[in-house]
């Protein structure tokens, strides 16, 4: 839902204080982290949504990759998952089976297991997972640790929301569709493993609030500002052209409305290019802050694994804006 409304609702809930709750609601992080012992903390997250692609098997994979991503963004490893599915009585059970098979295959690829689940009858199909992961309490990578001077790396290209809108309009070129499906199905596992080894200071995964929304949460939580370079931000093929054709989902405009006062753009950046940075992502990449000397190495290591990661900016002390986007 729209970030402005969500944050307003969450503000009214009672604040939870527990010395073992290492990451809770306050910093708008990706998942909750609870310390079990000095050596072990449990990471808990849940995410589910309506189909973003027509093929039910692919939808299952995308939903699972998306739910698992929150565990990776915290620096953890997934252990168990539970399915959550809403399904209409009028659709063939084969479709549900395909969705769940896609999810199971993706969870297996992540090295975790599906231990059960829950289904509800509903007019529109929805699928996702609650995932439990593990992390050493000293190795948690929250979204709050970015320091001035750090480099910013993004591990997947942007534009899944815009391409999904163009698919509905039957205007998306086949190469855009294929690239979007490939990136949405891809686990953030490799990116997370390399990030842990590189000494990342902060991380978040890019989903519904878009690159700028999640980056703003990260800058806010860390008491810093980010400078990003538009030309360096990886985009899916065709995404910029489709944005310029008005194929922009409503969520991108909600994200912009929520953020516009805290984001500053160089005047020369076109409106379509700006909207891509607000585009809600499904199963997006990780945004990683890390010491600058590690930044290029991380990008190179990920490139060797076939991931199109890129250095997209730097962390600075707090400015009048949370994020400045230069050409």
């Amino acid at each position: 839902m729209a970030p402005a409304i969500l944050s307003q609702v969450l503000r009214q809930l009672p604040k939870i204080v527990d010395e073992n709750l290492l990451v809770g609601l306050e910093t708008s992080d990706d998942a909750a982290v609870y310390r079990l012992s000095d050596e072990l903390a449990v990471i808990q997250t849940v995410d589910f949504f309506t189909p973003v692609v027509d093929d039910p098997y692919i939808f299952g994979q995308v939903a699972a990759a998306n739910a698992l991503s929150d565990i990776y963004a915290m620096g953890g490893r997934p252990l168990l998952a539970l399915n959550i599915a809403c399904f209409p009585g009028c659709l063939s059970p084969d479709v549900l089976r395909e969705i769940l098979t896609g999810g199971a295959d993706k969870v297996k690829e992540a090295g975790a297991i599906i231990a059960g689940g829950h289904t509800v009858q509903d007019d529109e199909p929805k699928y996702g997972l609650a995932v439990t992961g593990l992390v050493h309490p000293d190795e948690i990578i929250s979204n709050a640790g970015a320091r001035p001077g750090d480099a910013l790396v993004l591990t997947k290209p942007l534009g899944t929301g815009i391409i999904a809108t163009a698919v509905k309009a039957e205007l998306a070129p086949p190469e855009s569709r294929t690239a979007a499906v490939t990136t949405m199905c891809a686990l953030n596992r490799e990116a997370a493993a390399v990030m842990r080894a590189a000494g990342a200071t902060a991380c978040t995964d890019i989903t519904g609030f878009g690159l700028l929304g999640h980056a703003a949460e990260m800058a806010e939580a860390g008491g810093v500002s980010f400078t990003m370079y538009q030309h360096a931000i990886p985009l899916l093929p065709g995404a910029l052209e489709l944005a310029a054709m008005g194929m922009i989902p409503g969520g991108a405009y909600s994200n912009r409305e929520h953020l516009s006062e805290r984001v500053s753009f160089a005047g020369s950046i076109a409106a379509a290019g700006r909207m891509l940075l607000y585009d809600p992502q499904t199963s997006g990449g990780l945004l990683i802050a890390l010491p600058p000397e590690q930044g290029m190495r991380l990008v190179k290591q990920l490139a060797e694994k076939g991931l199109a990661a890129a250095l997209i900016g730097t962390v600075t002390g707090r400015q009048p804006w949370l994020i400045r986007v230069e050409e």
Binding site: A166, A169, M245, G246, G267, Q319
Partner: protein, 220 residues
């Protein structure tokens, strides 16, 4: 002149864009009026039409927006991905008329203000400050806003703590005005820790902006 009206109320995106596109494709010149009932459709139809090189005017009333797209009357070449139509302000309740800002400043010639003093004009210092504040009151309301402000010599005080125009700089930053602050000058006046707006720059970049300006306005 051909005038086509399409009512897209009740339609979700991307349908209004597709209907507008089809209507525009079918006429060689003329106007297409599109009625939409949500801001996403308003923004997307505007984005599409402007990037296709058409002129767009919007009228908003009671959550409905009437977009008038004029085909074949613009001299601006379509340049998807290069134009900067800016953020279309939300139509206020009641009957407001807004002309959506054309793609960027005419001919893409940047407007640059050079502040080489923390006062405007030579004379009484307090008058110089008053005039400067008054100038900034005007700058924040400019449409479109200036592209770049450059602060050097004692002008850097304007971007630092204690400046009388910080609030205006914040507004301009929100409107995407670029602000370059001379690093040598900050060092000279020992203001490195006091910078509140803009970003530290060097003479190479400042010279680029000065020579690349379409219009350069020196304030001293």
């Amino acid at each position: 002149m051909t005038v086509v009206e399409i009512d897209c109320r009740g339609l979700a995106c991307p349908q209004p864009v597709l209907k507008a596109k089809k209507a525009l494709d079918e006429i060689s010149a003329g106007k297409v009026t599109v009625i939409v009932d949500n801001t996403t459709s308003r923004e997307n139809v505007t984005m599409f039409a402007q990037n296709a090189g058409h002129r767009v005017e919007a009228i908003g009333k009671d959550g409905n927006y009437i977009l008038t797209i004029t085909k074949g009357e613009t001299s601006v070449a379509p340049q998807a991905g290069v134009t900067a139509p800016g953020d279309v302000p939300a139509a206020a309740p009641g009957n407001t008329v807004e002309t959506v800002r054309p793609a960027g400043r005419e001919g893409n010639r940047p407007l640059v203000y050079l502040f080489s003093s923390n006062l405007f004009g030579q004379g009484a210092p307090d008058l110089g400050t008053t005039l400067l504040k008054s100038l900034f009151t005007t700058l924040v309301e400019m449409e479109p806003p200036p592209d770049t402000l450059i602060f050097l010599n004692s002008g850097v005080f304007l971007a630092c703590a204690g400046s009388p125009v910080l609030e205006q700089l914040r507004v301009l930053a929100g409107r995407n005005t670029e602000m370059l602050v001379c690093g040598t000058c900050l060092n000279y006046y020992k203001l490195q820790e006091k910078l509140q707006a803009g970003r530290v720059s060097n003479m190479l970049e400042i010279n680029e902006r000065l020579t690349g300006a379409g219009r350069l306005v020196p304030i001293a």
